[in-house]
Amino acid sequence: MRTKLAVLVASIGLLFAVAPMWAHHAFTAEFDAKQPIKLRGTVAKVELINPHSWIHIDVKGEDGQVVRWMVEGGTPNTLLRRGFTKTSLPVGTEIIADGYRAKDGSNRANGRDITFPDGRKIFLGGSSPDAPPEK
């Protein structure tokens, strides 16, 4: 079933541990590290809701059937503050979501990286070292 959905299993880097992070909920409880997933589809709906944003995408399988997936993002407040609104990602836009599938087997995943098909990141910036310094 999974192969029919044009779901590609991503290869994962190894070795480096990271410091534990706090976030609103336990990601490892909800999403399965053993099920990395890469979804290519078109935006059907953007839910800028609290506490997390969700992007709904239609993914066409090899059999031509379209299945809707939900991809989780972070707090909508960060998006709004950075000028990203509900219309910034129009319905029909083709995107690739690279993340991990929900443990409950539903068609949900976290959007670890969300890019356009040409590789450009949709969400850029934040507090990365390349970001402009704060005031």
Binding site: G13, V18, A26, H52, R108, D113, P129, P133
Partner: protein, 342 residues
């Protein structure tokens, strides 16, 4: 009682309606030179029309300075300018969520790329190496035996039941008390903004994380009766010179800030240090939980905003997802367990 409340709220709303603007001149002070003494006078242009120090505005708690001083910085209270830059670079590299290295578990924990995270990029402008300023080692004092036992008992009771139901999940996941929202308020990974509004007889503090509001009376009224316990306690304020002092008591035993008991007495101090900076300090006094009182300081910075609502329950699919994930894992484990017992 109800009338008094309504009258109070009317005063507050009226005051909000005629919010006086914070003066625009931005005379920043050099890093590391903020004057902490409460005797310091707030400049005349940073006062409200009725003469109070003007604490109003939208303030950001975002900083990468840790609450407690890391072991490798033991004995070092302040960074030099260069050390601060080196530290910032190191932390940002370590925290960079765009990286995809490490184990799959680590990658899941990072959750999303850096765009979504907003914890700030700088250490506090005093260049302290920890937010804790007392005790001088920059560490939260040890828990008392009583508090440690209480914490261990609570953890033991929940062990093996972490995903039984929503009641077993941590308070932030349940949208009850969000990380950093306080009191006391602390920097966290995003939604670090706080709005302060002053009205005659009141100060209002709205925290973006969880959009939680405290309306703090300044008229000297007593705290709520001991039997009334609240997630965010019961706050009362007064001015000492140009510093706003807020005392909060009447916490629930569920809030348990870093192992504190329901009898935690929290003292917060707010002082307008300069046009861009509000010096926020808090002291945790809870002899039944901590071996001594401790104090932390966050120089918070003015931020343009806006501040958005964070209605955590609006679409808390995460709770359902985590519990559903646990049910699925139980189902998968069940046949295996049966085989093992045969």
């Amino acid at each position: 009682m109800r009338h008094r409340f309504l009258a109070s709220m009317c005063c507050l709303v009226a005051a909000i309606a005629m919010v006086w603007l914070a003066p625009g001149s931005a005379v920043g002070q050099a890093r590391g030179s903020l004057e902490v003494a409460s005797a310091a006078k707030t400049a005349p242009h940073l006062r409200t029309p009725d003469g109070q120090p003007d604490l109003q505005g939208l303030w950001s708690f975002a900083t990468i300075t840790p609450l407690e001083r890391p072991d490798e910085l033991a004995g070092k209270e302040f960074f030099t300018e260069k050390e601060a830059v080196d530290y910032e670079t190191g932390v940002l590299k370590r925290n960079n969520m765009d990286r995809r290295d490490g184990s799959a578990e680590a990658d899941v924990t990072r959750a999303y790329n850096d765009f979504w995270w907003d914890r700030g990029t700088r250490v506090v402008k005093t260049r302290r190496t920890s937010l804790v300023i007392d005790p001088p080692d920059g560490r939260v004092p040890a828990l008392t035996t009583e508090a440690q036992t209480r914490q261990d008992d609570r953890a033991a009771k929940n062990r093996g039941h972490e995903f039984d139901g929503p009641e077993n999940r941590p308070l932030p996941e349940r949208c009850l008390v969000l990380q950093g929202s306080g009191p006391p308020m602390l920097p966290t990974a995003y939604n670090n903004n706080t709005r302060i509004v002053q009205a005659p007889g009141y100060v209002m503090i709205l925290v973006e994380m969880g959009h939680e509001v405290r309306v703090i009376p300044l008229d000297g009224r007593p705290h709520l009766p001991q039997g009334v316990r609240q997630w965010k306690g019961d706050s009362r304020g007064h001015w000492e010179g140009d510093t706003l002092i807020v005392e909060t008591t009447n916490f629930t035993d569920k809030t348990a800030f870093r192992g504190a008991s329901e009898n935690m007495r929290l003292i917060e101090r707010f002082r307008r240090a300069d046009a861009d900076t509000l010096l926020y300090q808090f002291t945790v006094d809870d002899p039944s939980a901590f071996t001594k009182p401790w104090t932390a300081e966050v120089p918070v910075t003015i931020t343009p905003g806006p501040l958005f609502e964070y209605a955590c329950h609006e679409g808390n699919y995460g709770m359902r997802g985590a519990l559903a994930g646990a049910r699925e894992e139980e189902k998968r484990a069940a046949p295996k367990a049966q085989t093992e017992t045969k």
